[in-house]
């Protein structure tokens, strides 16, 4: 494929897919080990009331207020989940279950009660995103990457997702040791003076921000899949957290690239006419990678149960 075709049509969605996948997979590693990986699922549900409230407040459908509303709802949700988990002393899955179903239901009620005739809430968009439509019309080829005029018309999702990825990566790098310590042994971490409660909250908030940004660009299917599949597959490849995170990034990128290419060309190779949803294919590939590592990964045996000496 020539640059003139690739750069405007395929490069932006590919990059957005990669950034979104990695931004979700990074915190996913810790959420998985903390048994909180379903938080991606929870967040993709609670953005509904956030978006509806944002619409009710502003009266317009535009990206920024809706993203702010979604992010606010996600943060309210994770704070609620943490509060219920800690005050009620119940496992995180149960806390997530009650919070995201109630907030999603509240969103449905809100939507019904408000004047929704002008609201176009597209379920399909929410699920699959619109990765293929994020094209860069001003680009004419590789040279456009140095052309400021053309760069100004990049799909806004691209810089947004890139910034989100930078934030997530910075958080993970900066707080690597406390995150590792408090995920492994929270009690011990507290005796070292670490504020494990704040750290846990920061982790889910960072995850929420990544999820909302990715949700807007690529839909909730990828968000949910990327929080769980690449980290889970990576866990089967190694017994070291440092390497696990590396593998999860690799798997996230593989899923994004492989999924995008297969969605676009796979059906043609099979003789079909149309491409299939890139988001669906990316999530499917990540699931396939997980299945393969679960079958053949070198470290897939759960060894946590103490063996007899």
């Amino acid at each position: 494929m020539s640059g003139a075709e690739f750069v405007p049509i395929s490069l932006p969605p590919l990059l957005i897919g990669i950034f979104a996948a990695v931004a979700c997979a990074l915190p996913g590693n810790f959420l998985l080990l903390r048994r909180q990986a379903l938080i991606g699922d929870a967040i993709s549900h609670v953005v509904l009331p956030g978006i509806v409230v944002a619409f009710l407040v502003t009266g317009v459908i535009s990206t920024w207020p809706m993203m702010v509303g979604a992010a606010a709802a996600a943060i309210v949700a994770v704070v609620l989940i943490e509060a219920i988990r800690r005050l009620g002393r119940i496992e995180p899955g149960a806390a997530m279950g009650v919070v995201f179903t109630s907030m999603f239901a509240a969103g449905v009620l809100l939507l019904e009660q408000s004047d929704t005739s002008s609201v176009h809430l597209d379920v399909e968009h929410a699920l699959y995103g619109n990765l293929e439509s994020l094209i860069w019309l001003d680009a004419t080829g590789w040279a456009s990457l140095w052309d400021l005029d053309a760069l100004a018309h990049l799909p806004p999702e691209l810089p947004r997702m890139a910034i989100t990825l930078v934030v997530v990566a910075l958080f993970t790098t900066l707080f690597w040791r406390p995150l590792k310590l408090s995920t492994f042994d929270e009690g011990f971490a507290r005796t070292l003076g670490l504020r494990t409660d704040l750290l846990g909250l920061a982790l889910v908030i960072v995850a929420a921000v990544a999820a909302v940004a990715a949700f807007d660009a690529v839909g909730s299917i990828i968000v949910i899949a990327m929080f769980i599949c690449p980290p889970a597959a990576a866990r089967m490849m190694t017994n070291r957290l440092e390497h696990q995170v590396g593998w999860s990034v690799l798997f996230a990128v593989l899923s994004a690239v492989g999924g995008y290419v297969l969605a676009g060309y796979g059906p043609l190779w099979l003789g079909a006419q149309d491409a299939v949803s890139a988001a669906g294919m990316i999530a499917t590939i990540s699931g396939l990678i997980l299945a393969l590592t679960a079958l053949f990964g070198p470290c897939r045996a759960r060894s946590g149960a103490p063996q007899d000496a």
Binding site: N239, L241, C299, G304
Partner: protein, 269 residues
């Protein structure tokens, strides 16, 4: 004795004996997880340079007492002082060994990674991990007889080996006060011997050791002091004085199983 010294001594006399310098002093500690307090109005003064066992029946609040002393759980009321000041100022002087069962041993980490966690206060957020840190960690593994296992995934160890790794992590903290939650629970005889040897060497170095302990039969052999608890404090003092048939009866009441009574008879000679 000079006048100033006498005056200073007189001043200290107004406080409870030892509390000004006790490695761990607890006053009026109450912790509750729900309606019923797990620990109620407990006072405790740990003597320095000795090994103290915290003893009591299941659910008596032994672990909770330890966790509250360390600030892991928030007490409803009470005051905890470590070497005469609040814990926050003394964290580097306190090492902790949690219950082995409280951890997910499937966590992706090697033995050496876990021991290095004990160096966190030295390393800080972004401090560079140097060869000297690794040597320090290996030295601690050597002391618990686990140096050959440093590259193993922690889930592949036996229960006793895992407990020794936890002890090595506490050694890496290089503290003055060591708090251990059931260090002998479910470990093999070799590990028990190894652990008690390490703890005794700590005592020889003037460190203070406090352990939640289960096995009444070994209290006399292992420990200098006992602290008996059953939600409230039952007894506290040197083993000879505080570890008696009466105090045990008071702590365990009717719950002292026949097997334990037999153990006890042997333990008390």
């Amino acid at each position: 004795m000079t006048l100033e010294l006498a005056a200073a001594k007189g001043q200290r006399m107004t406080q409870p004996a030892q509390s000004a310098h006790s490695p761990l002093s607890i006053r009026g500690l109450t912790v509750s997880y729900g309606q019923k307090p797990a620990v109620f109005s407990v006072d405790m003064t740990v003597p320095p340079g000795a090994m103290t066992a915290i003893i009591g029946p299941n659910g008596a609040g032994k672990s909770t007492l330890l966790k509250a002393a360390l600030g892991i759980v928030k007490p409803l009321s009470g005051r905890v002082e470590v070497f005469g000041t609040p814990l926050a100022a003394q964290r580097s002087r306190v090492a902790y060994v949690p219950q082995r069962a409280s951890i997910d041993w499937d966590f992706p980490a090697r033995v050496i990674d876990v021991v290095l966690m004990g160096l966190y206060r030295q390393l800080g957020l972004l401090g560079r991990l140097r060869a000297s840190h690794k040597a320090q960690a290996m030295d601690c593994l050597e002391r618990v007889g686990m140096a050959d296992f440093s590259e193993r995934q922690i889930g592949q160890l036996s229960g006793g080996q895992q407990q020794r790794v936890f002890l090595a992590r506490a050694l890496a903290q290089d503290a003055d006060l060591y708090l251990l939650d059931e260090p002998f629970a479910g470990v093999d005889a070799a590990t028990e011997k190894a652990i008690i040897a390490v703890l005794k060497s700590l005592r020889e170095d003037g460190k203070t050791v406090v352990a939640v302990h289960h096995d009444l039969a070994t209290v006399r052999d292992y420990f200098d002091h006992v602290f008996l608890i059953n939600t409230t404090r039952i007894a506290e003092g040197p083993v000879d004085e505080a570890f008696t048939a009466e105090t045990l009866q008071a702590a365990y009441g009717g719950r002292l199983a026949t097997a334990q009574v037999d153990q006890l008879a042997r333990a008390l000679g």
